[in-house]
């Protein structure tokens, strides 16, 4: 929301205050200002002139020669093409040498043979609006209050203008020659505050409320709004309000003799400064009143109100309604409408209808000043996506005491801006709201204690009183009465008052004080402890880079992966059709990373730790969302079994190392995976990741079809682990085992076996044959190629023999090896060198 310095000045005297200082105070005590913008700059050289004569240009039909009186007997002459030149009019002019906004310098010239020593300016030439239809003609209403020294206007708008068409004679004589900026408030400063910062302050959505806040902040008096106005002779328009909950207050009054016209510059200038587009005098006044009072008002063309009555009711289901902006709606029974005898004429608090708006030929007007239920207005505005300045205010819970003030200002401005317009009826006033004040008991000691600094009781009292609260004391405790404009929901409890006092004192006065707290051991969440170990181990020790990806699945990606996520949690309002469901697995987004990175990083491994989501909910109704660990490593362009196995061993080694560092007992990664298969899982190279008897995840080569879909030539190995299962998996205690006292003997054994004989099978055979003296078996080399025949490969194992109580003899070891070889043969292996006999 934008607000204007000049506008504020209607109610609080800011003369002599630096703008930046007031802006800073506002930020520190009310809400952050997003910015301060200077308006109407660069017009210091423009002066007011009075058109003395207008004549026809001798050489051009469309041009006029003019003389302009600049006061003090000084008259200049020039040429102008403006169609609206009138003798006697006060106009802004620029003499040669003056710089105009936009950087144009006025020069003395000759136009079609006639010298021109003055330029009569349009609003656009002064960058005040885009109006270039003619020269700007000043009207009495445009004059700044500085022109009326000592005169106080009793106009409800606060503007010091004179009624009627004519300038007072003394002003007419004294204005020519004066700088424009001294006569008209073209120069202004516009403050902008984020609407979100004012969500809780219904009283700050108009200039008067802001002026009240600034007056309190600066300790200055505030000029009150008027709530009295002249009324007409006729009976009030009949108003029927179906539900006082929906509409606690509804005022309406009729006016006649209206003529629709362009608003005076001063009104348009203010509206434009705060971001509103001037339309015509009546509509401009309603907007002006809203921005001044903070109370949205609406004007109907009285001709369009069938039956001359107003009904505030719920809409019928699917009742058709066309908004002022032309949009057609089918209303809901939840919407509140303003209707005449037949049909809705406005969507209450949101926008008027096309059927009843002000037209160019409108002569009689009905003004609505009402208070609507904030939730109802808000829901309707959200339902149709029609967020207006009006709905933004109503949904904040407006003070029901504002409508008379708004009506007073409208009435006063209408009669001034449309001479002859006048109220024809008495005001209708349906009012059904509590006028009972909100009281809060406040112990001054509470303020000091919770602020953390000593605040004398009388300071508390004076701050509150400045802000409009009424304070009385009984037994050292304050009874605080909340003013109506803060009482709709903003201020209810002592903490709310604490804020009022704190912000006026200034929080920079509060000395930081460390809290006193009990010393107690804090328990750690097991999962957090696990994650705190897991991440650094995978990165620093296993050489994997950590990534984070979105919690959404990409529709395009999972489709390419031929994956239809089961039990997927769908978003009601996704940010895009592509990101419409929550991820069920980490794998798809990690595979997406493979696709994006593999060209630049042909050989790499990454991991992610994060939640995956299920549509299934827990007992609390919360979707299941376990933490998963995903690991993927890839080698671009890799082919052949050797490279696949090497990559597989890299990831398997990382996981086993991790499980070891997590003290998980009995991790095994080699049994075929028998769970629910994903499309990226390789048919015969996917294994279960087991901790003890529990399957905690899967790991395997990525299916060639997936690699193809990812347009990544080469191989990838993917693992996905359920961290929740790891958290509850059994841990092993680290126990010291005595260092062997007797030397061990190592022996290497190379076995040759068919390709499909697994190393694990042979290692198991070796262990079986080795008996208790075989302390360790380690695969040290795998080889295929000459001289090993096709279809077979060589696997070399290193065996370590030891005994706890003696040095093993050569004979014992030899016997063990004989047994081992026998078992290995039984498992399908032959020895190096006896290939021939095996083959035969």
């Amino acid at each position: 929301m934008k607000f204007s310095w000049n506008w504020l000045s209607d109610w609080v005297d800011l003369a002599g205050r630096p703008v930046s200082e007031v802006a800073n105070r506002f930020t520190m005590t009310v809400a952050e200002l997003e910015g301060v913008e200077a308006v109407g700059e660069g017009l210091r050289g423009v002066v007011v002139g009075r058109i003395a004569t207008v004549g026809q240009h001798p050489n051009a039909d469309k041009l006029k020669t003019v003389t302009v009186d600049l006061g003090g007997g000084r008259v200049v002459s020039g040429v102008s093409g403006a169609p609206n030149l009138v003798v006697g009019a006060l106009v802004p002019v620029a003499l040669p040498g003056v710089m105009l906004p936009g950087g144009n310098e006025v020069r003395a010239t000759e136009i079609r043979g006639v010298p021109s020593g003055v330029v009569l300016l349009s609003e656009r030439e002064m960058a005040l609006s885009d109006d270039h239809s003619g020269v700007m003609i000043l009207q009495p209403r445009d004059l700044s209050r500085r022109c009326f020294a000592g005169v106080t206007s009793d106009d409800a708008s606060g503007l010091p203008f004179a009624d009627g068409d004519d300038f007072p004679a003394d002003l007419l004589a004294s204005l020519p020659g004066k700088p424009l900026v001294d006569v008209v408030d073209v120069e202004d400063h516009v403050f902008e505050v984020d609407n979100k910062s004012l969500t809780h302050r219904p009283d700050l959505w108009g200039h008067h409320g802001l002026a009240r806040e600034i007056a309190a902040m600066l300790g200055l008096p505030l000029k009150p709004l008027s709530d009295t106005f002249p009324v007409g002779p006729d009976a009030a328009i009949p108003v029927q309000v179906d539900s006082p909950i929906d509409c606690p207050r509804y005022m309406a009054m009729a006016y006649a003799g209206v003529s629709i016209a362009v608003s005076p510059f001063a009104v348009r200038h203010r509206l434009r400064a705060v971001g509103l587009r001037p339309i015509n005098n009546v509509v401009d006044i309603t907007n002006y009143v809203m921005m001044a009072v903070g109370q949205p008002v609406h004007s109907f063309d009285q001709r369009q109100l069938t039956g001359g009555q107003i009904v505030v009711r719920r809409a019928l289901e699917t009742e058709p309604f066309r908004l002022l902006d032309g949009r057609d709606l089918a209303l809901s029974g939840e919407d509140l409408v303003i209707a005449d005898a037949l049909r809705p004429v406005a969507l209450a608090g949101v926008m008027g209808g096309e059927n009843s708006g002000i037209a160019d030929d409108t002569v009689s007007v009905v003004l609505e000043c009402a208070t609507f239920n904030p939730s109802r207005v808000r829901r309707t505005a959200v339902r149709y996506g029609v967020r207006t300045d009006s709905s933004a205010r109503f949904e904040k819970s407006l003070d029901p005491n504002l409508p008379p003030c708004a009506m007073a200002m409208f009435t006063s401005m209408l009669s001034a801006m449309s001479p002859g317009a006048h109220p024809t009826s008495r005001p209708a006033d349906f009012a059904s709201f509590s006028r009972q004040a909100v009281h809060i008991r406040l112990d001054p000691a509470f303020v000091s204690r919770r602020l953390g600094m000593d605040v004398p009781a009388d300071r508390t009292r004076s701050i509150l009183e400045h802000l409009g609260f009424l304070v009385s004391e009984e037994g050292g405790v304050f009874d605080v009465v909340v003013p109506s404009w803060r009482a709709t929901k903003d201020v209810r409890i002592p903490e709310d008052l604490l804020e009022e006092i704190g912000r006026v004192i200034g929080y920079d006065q509060v000395p930081p004080l460390a809290p006193m707290a009990a010393v107690a051991l804090v328990a750690r969440l097991p999962r957090r402890e696990m994650l705190a170990t897991l991440r650094p181990v995978l990165a620093a020790e296993c050489g994997l880079d950590e990534v984070m990806t979105y919690s959404f699945d990409s529709r395009a990606l999972v489709t390419r992966l031929s994956f239809e996520p089961p039990d997927a949690l769908a978003l009601v309002n996704p940010i895009s059709a592509d990101a419409a469901t929550m991820r069920t697995d980490l794998a798809p987004n990690l595979l997406g990373c493979v696709e994006r990175n593999s060209a630049r990083f042909p050989d790499a491994g990454i991991f992610e730790v994060g939640r995956v989501f299920r549509a299934t909910v827990d007992t609390e109704g919360v979707p299941k969302q376990p933490y998963h660990l995903g690991v993927v490593a890839w080698r671009r362009l890799a082919k052949g079994r050797d490279e696949s196995e090497a990559l597989f061993r890299r990831v398997k080694g990382a996981l086993l190392h991790l499980f070891g560092r997590l003290d998980l007992a009995d991790a095994v990664i080699e049994d075929d995976f028998e769970g629910e298969r994903r499309p990226w899982m390789h048919p015969n190279a996917t294994v279960a990741v087991k901790v003890g008897a529990t399957v905690v995840g899967s790991m395997g080569l990525v299916h060639p079809a997936t690699m193809q879909a990812l347009e990544t030539p080469g191989v990838a190995v993917l693992a996905e682990i359920d961290i929740e299962a790891l958290v509850v998996a059994p841990r092993k205690r680290r126990v010291f085992s005595p260092v062997p006292r007797f030397p061990s003997i190592t022996n290497d054994l190379s076995l040759v076996a068919a390709d499909d004989v697994r190393a694990g099978t042979l290692a198991a055979a070796i262990r079986l044959g080795g008996g208790p003296s075989l302390a360790a078996v380690e695969l040290v080399a795998v080889y295929s190629g000459p001289p090993i025949p096709d279809g077979r490969r060589s696997l070399s194992f290193r065996m370590t023999f030891t005994a706890p109580d003696r040095t093993l003899s050569d004979v014992e070891v030899k016997e063990a090896i004989v047994r081992i070889v026998a078992h290995a043969r039984a498992a399908g292996a032959s020895m190096w060198g006896d290939e021939g006999s095996q083959e035969s």
Binding site: M28, T29, K196, S197, T199, H200, P374, S375, R379, R450, L451, G452, D496, L498, E499, R503, Y507, D508, V510, P512, L513, A514, P515, A517, A518, V519, V522, A523, R524, R527, R528, L538, A539, A540, E541, G543, D545, E546, V547, M548, T549, Y550, S551, L569, A570, V572, N573, I575, M582, G592, C593, N597, F601, A604, I606, F613, A615, E620, V622, Q625
Partner: protein
């Protein structure tokens, strides 16, 4: 070589002939310049067929009265030569190693081998830092659902249905009365329900807003929420705690200011600004020339929120804050586009 002491010992034995002999032996030791020649000298004098050995053999032929003195004399001689040999051997060994070292060369400008270690995501690093900081101050580190009950995200935080504040957070809605949490604040109510007061806790994690992304906006980002619940909690306490936090995070003295900020779940509510660390407060593009950078919202916990947490607001009070971790990471590492954080791009990941 400390010849003097051996010499005097021998001379004291009163035999001028031994003196000459010792001089000769020590002279040979001193002339040996390799391990092998030192060994030769040792054998020549002290070996089985060495000159000293032959002198010792003559002892048996001496009359008993002179045998003892002669024995002592030869023993002193032996010790002196042994010591000289040993010292010389050390010297020569060292000299030979020095020679080898002088011949040895490497190229120290060859680049160091890069370790195969992977990198942690910068958010992980910051979270770990913040968690460590708070754990040192006795805070629980908690973790709550990202897909959350609407109640905990809004109603329990004093944001009832139709409250305009719901607009300020573009919410992703899920079926069944759930949302993707728009902030980490739901943890406030959950923490109060789950822990026994007094306590203090933080809860970091992912949060979601349904809004378009650009260099400074993401629909997915990270926050950490902090909560302290005790019998009496003041703004001064909160301010002190926030300064401790920020000094811990930025590892330097910080200057902060509180200004009013509206959040329905705190009363009073604040925006805490940090004196701009780029310009020191003089005004620069980072702080939009204000000298201050808006850093974190905080405030005293609203009594309705304490009630929603199952506690009696007449008995328990608290402060709470929320800190944008994504933004903190960007400040720390000078990351210019928030979308890097969730991009899964190794060009980014490998920089940390």
């Amino acid at each position: 070589m400390p010849l003097g002491c051996y010499k005097s010992a021998v001379l004291d034995a009163g035999n001028p002939g031994m003196d000459e002999l010792l001089r000769e032996a020590l002279g040979e030791v001193a002339e040996a310049t390799t391990i092998a020649t030192v060994k030769d000298v040792e054998v020549r004098w002290l070996g089985k067929k060495g000159r000293l050995t032959s002198l010792l053999k003559e002892l048996g032929g001496l009359p008993p009265e002179s045998r003892k003195a002669r024995g002592a004399e030869l023993n002193s001689f032996k010790q002196a030569v042994e010591q000289a040999v040993e010292s010389r051997r050390i010297e020569v060994t060292r000299a030979e190693a020095d020679d080898r070292a002088r011949a040895e060369r490497i190229d120290p400008t060859l680049p160091g081998h890069s370790m195969a270690a992977g990198r942690l995501h910068p958010l992980t690093r910051i979270v770990a830092e913040v968690e460590d900081l708070f754990e040192r101050m006795g805070f629980h580190i908690l973790d709550y659902p990202e897909a959350e009950r609407e109640y905990f995200n809004f109603d329990g935080l004093n944001i009832p249905a139709d409250h305009p504040a719901r607009d300020t957070q573009d919410t992703f809605y899920l079926p069944g009365g759930n949302v993707l949490r728009t902030h980490t604040s739901p943890g406030q109510v959950r923490a109060m329900r789950g822990l026994t007061p007094p306590f203090r806790a933080i809860f970091p994690g992912r949060v979601y807003r349904c809004e378009a992304t650009d260099a400074s906006h993401e629909h997915t980002f990270h926050q950490v929420e902090g909560l302290m619940i005790d019998r009496s909690v003041s703004i001064a306490n909160m301010l002190s705690s926030m300064m401790t936090l920020l000094e811990g995070v930025f590892r330097r003295k910080v200057e902060v200011r509180l200004r009013p900020g509206f959040f329905p779940f705190v009363e009073p509510g604040f925006e805490l600004d940090l004196r701009c660390m780029v310009c020191g407060g003089d005004g620069c593009p980072v702080c939009k020339r204000s000298g201050w950078v808006e850093l974190l919202p905080c405030g005293l916990v609203q009594p309705n929120v304490i009630r929603a947490g199952g506690l009696d607001p007449d008995e328990w009070e608290g402060w709470a804050f929320g800190l944008g971790l994504s933004r903190l990471v960007m400040m720390r590492y000078g990351i210019d586009d928030i979308r890097w954080l969730m991009a899964g791009d190794l060009r980014f990941a490998r920089q940390f």
